[in-house]
């Protein structure tokens, strides 16, 4: 699905990542962990093409991400669902429109997707909040709405950046449950988190691999948690 080959990234003020190689196989569940500022978000951005590596190669769906033009990049983003750390909603649109945004920009006819949308809202437990504006949502509701938006186009890969960063334990369990369900449906999942409890909870339900960023390198943390 997504493959990083000896990838390095340099912010200009020194190297953040160096010689990172990882392969996200179809249907796999990965956690990405490491201290704050270690480059978790950067690594995720490299995976969905928001950043270009300064060295090495990123391949997604057997395409060289660096070689994609802007339109091809847009099409790549429709195949990778991303839950951003800060959710990135359009605040003037209702929750349901934000969730449907990938459909709208892809030029799909919303009236035909109505049933799917309702089902998705029920799945993430936001049926009652469909017409609310994003600033009116709680942290947990925002994260669930962001997750719903990331899966609306039925992508093969879902990347989530600290989806449980701002929510209580119960809510993070609920979000994890949704991610686990997606993984059982065959989706490839990559979640960046520093919440070890969450990783332990996940390991009871799915076969999750843990990747840790340490000293610019990516280390397979394996089963030692």
């Amino acid at each position: 699905m997504i493959e990083l080959e000896n990838v390095g990234y340099n912010y200009g003020g020194g190297e953040l990542l160096s010689d990172v190689s990882v392969k996200l196989a179809p249907g796999s569940f990965h956690f990405l962990t490491g201290p704050s500022g270690a480059g978790k978000t950067t690594l995720l951005k490299l995976c969905y093409g928001a950043l270009t590596p300064t060295s090495g190669r990123v391949r997604a769906f057997n395409m060289d991400v660096q070689g994609l033009d802007r339109d091809q990049m847009a099409h790549l983003r429709r195949r990778v669902g991303v839950v951003h750390q800060d959710c990135r909603f359009l605040d003037h649109l209702a929750v349901i429109e934000n969730i449907a945004l990938p459909l709208i920009v892809a030029g799909k006819d919303l009236s035909q997707e109505e049933a799917n949308l309702r089902e998705l809202l029920t799945w993430v437990g936001l049926s009652q909040r469909a017409d609310a504006l994003p600033p009116e949502l709680s942290g947990g509701e925002r994260q669930r709405a962001a997750l719903a938006r990331s899966v609306i186009l039925s992508p093969d890969v879902i990347i989530a950046d600290e989806p449980t960063g701002n929510v209580d334990w119960e809510m993070s369990q609920r979000l994890l449950q949704l991610l686990v369900e997606l993984n059982r449906m065959g989706k490839t999942i990559l979640v960046a988190t520093h919440d070890m409890a969450l990783i332990r909870a996940a390991k009871k339900q799915v076969q999750a691999r843990v990747l840790r960023i340490s000293a610019k390198q990516l280390i397979q943390a394996g089963a030692d948690l």
Binding site: L76, R77, H84, F89, L90, L101, I104, A106, G107, R149
Partner: protein, 299 residues
């Protein structure tokens, strides 16, 4: 642009329109600018057309007629007039030549001397009206021949005082045309600024749209469509008001001369109607350029 895309641009996509938040201030700015510019364009167009008409009419009328004046002692006047008429009839390019009768000359002079004065008592030169044919006569050749055979004859083909007037009218027409071009350029510049302001104000929205997989063309269209329609609407109102303004001007008359001739005649009333679509085209080009440039700068 394919037919489908064009239709989409004009008819719009209700969903796509909601994606970019409405921007009250730039919307009003664009409407006002395109309206004001269209209003000015109507007057520049009227000025240009009127001065063009004037230049053509003056050039036409004056070039076609000339006057031959015969200054000769009374006893020779008749003979010289006859000689001059003979020469004129033989000159190629002269359509007709006719000596004014004493009554006609008296009528021409009456504004100055009154009608009661006996014109015969004055040494008034005989006037001959020369109407030029097509192609015209050779003025220099005619003068030389008249000089040799009719010493008292002076050919006045109005060129001396006609030329600067016609030049002025033509310069006015050129100024009008340049004004229209400047108006178009200023409109493009202001709409570019407004579009850039809107794009900058919506940088976050654009980023989110890119993140969820929107193509550049989709994002650009959302802005281009908006600005094009605003320019079209504003210009339509401006042209409407401008045309009413021109229509309310007194109609052309001989007394008023140039000023009252400032307006549209016949088919020319249709010309201002081209301004709104042209304004929309200018807005379309300006916004497309601004949007593509700004989107190209984003990752």
């Amino acid at each position: 642009m394919s037919e489908g895309r064009l239709r989409k641009l004009i008819m719009g996509d209700a969903q796509a329109d909601r994606v970019v938040p409405p921007s009250g201030f730039t919307a009003q700015l664009t409407l006002f600018v395109s309206g004001a510019m269209a209003f000015l364009a109507v007057f520049a167009l009227a000025l240009s057309l009127a001065s063009g008409r004037l230049a053509n009419r003056w050039a036409d009328e004056l070039a076609r007629a000339a006057t031959l004046r015969i200054n000769a002692p009374a006893e020779q006047r008749l003979a010289q007039t006859e000689a001059a008429l003979t020469i004129l009839r033989q000159t190629p390019g002269v359509a007709s030549a006719r000596a004014f009768s004493a009554e006609e000359q008296a009528e021409l002079l009456s504004p100055w001397f009154g009608s009661s004065l006996a014109i015969d008592s004055l040494p008034v030169p005989q006037l001959i009206e020369v109407i030029e044919g097509d192609p015209g006569y050779d003025g220099t050749g005619l003068r030389l021949r008249l000089q040799a055979e009719v010493p008292g004859a002076v050919l006045d083909d109005h060129t001396r005082w006609r030329a600067p007037l016609v030049d002025a009218a033509r310069a006015l027409r050129r100024l009008g045309a340049v004004s229209i071009l400047l108006i178009a350029g200023a409109t493009a510049a202001m709409i570019t600024l407004a579009a850039n302001a809107a794009l900058a104000a919506n940088a976050q929205v654009i980023e989110v749209l890119r993140l969820v997989g929107a193509l550049d063309s989709y994002i650009a269209h959302a802005f281009v469509r908006r600005f094009t329609l605003r320019a079209l609407g504003g210009a339509a109102v401006g042209v409407g008001l401008g045309m009413i303004g021109v229509w309310l001007m007194p109609s052309a008359s001989n007394e008023g001369g140039f000023l009252t001739g400032l307006g549209f005649q016949g088919w020319a009333w249709g010309l201002p109607l081209l301004i709104p679509p042209l304004g929309a085209l200018v807005a379309f080009a300006a916004t497309t350029r601004a949007a593509n440039k700004r989107l190209g700068d984003l990752t």
